[in-house]
């Protein structure tokens, strides 16, 4: 089991319900294959830095999960097939990343704050 983080950009034409059901669908895929969802964060509508498929906005969604190492291949197939997904990115998290995310979730200021000022 490894820790991963998935970020998906959905098309902005999705309604709220559709957006929710899509999130549920992929979160369910994780749990169905024996993984577990650590955290979920829907950023919602955000403007893109450059247009993707002629669209200037996108619905962002971030999922942190643990899964077996062969799960991501299956997930990727589903994401690429999905018409409503503009783009996705799956990142493997090392122990520092897990720690960082946990700290960020609990609301403690990340150490980056100091460095931003520097």
């Amino acid at each position: 089991m490894n820790n991963y983080e998935l970020m998906v950009i959905f098309t902005p034409v999705l309604s709220d319900d559709e957006f929710k059901s899509q999130q549920k669908k992929y979160a369910k895929m994780v749990t169905d294959t024996g993984g577990s969802v650590v955290a979920e964060n829907a950023w919602g509508l955000k403007s893109l830095a450059y247009s993707i498929q002629k669209k200037t906005t996108g619905l962002y969604w971030v999922l942190e999960y643990t899964a077996a190492s062969d799960f991501n291949e299956k997930l990727k197939i589903q994401l690429l097939r999905d018409e409503s997904v503009l783009r996705h990115l799956c990142t493997k998290l090392d122990k520092y990343a897990v720690e960082y995310n946990a700290r960020k979730r609990s609301g403690v200021k990340s150490g980056n704050q100091k460095a931003v000022e520097a």
Binding site: M7, I9, A49, Y50, V62, N112, A115
Partner: protein, 87 residues
């Protein structure tokens, strides 16, 4: 007292630059988040290109991580590949 000893009223400014440092090492940052766009903007110029280590002072280890994070942010359209007047 030596004859050719010159005395100044104010001390001459020795042109000594402040030593650069790696902010990740100094503040103990272990992980660079690609989602934290404001932070990543510290390491790119106005055109959205990565700044060299010569300027930021990052150690090689963390410069690599910074570049990975910036590239991920670009892929996810959080940062532009090319632009003008980013900041």
């Amino acid at each position: 007292m030596a004859k050719n000893e010159i005395k100044y009223l104010t001390a001459i400014k020795a042109d000594k630059r402040e030593k650069k440092f790696c902010r990740f090492k100094k503040y103990g940052i272990r992980y660079i988040d690609y989602k934290d766009v404001e932070f990543l903007k510290k390491f790119i110029n106005e055109q959205g290109r990565l700044l060299p280590r010569r300027i930021t002072g990052n150690s090689l280890k963390f410069q690599r991580k910074v570049s990975d994070a910036v590239k991920k942010a670009r892929q996810m359209s959080l940062l532009p590949y090319v632009t003008d007047l980013l900041k």
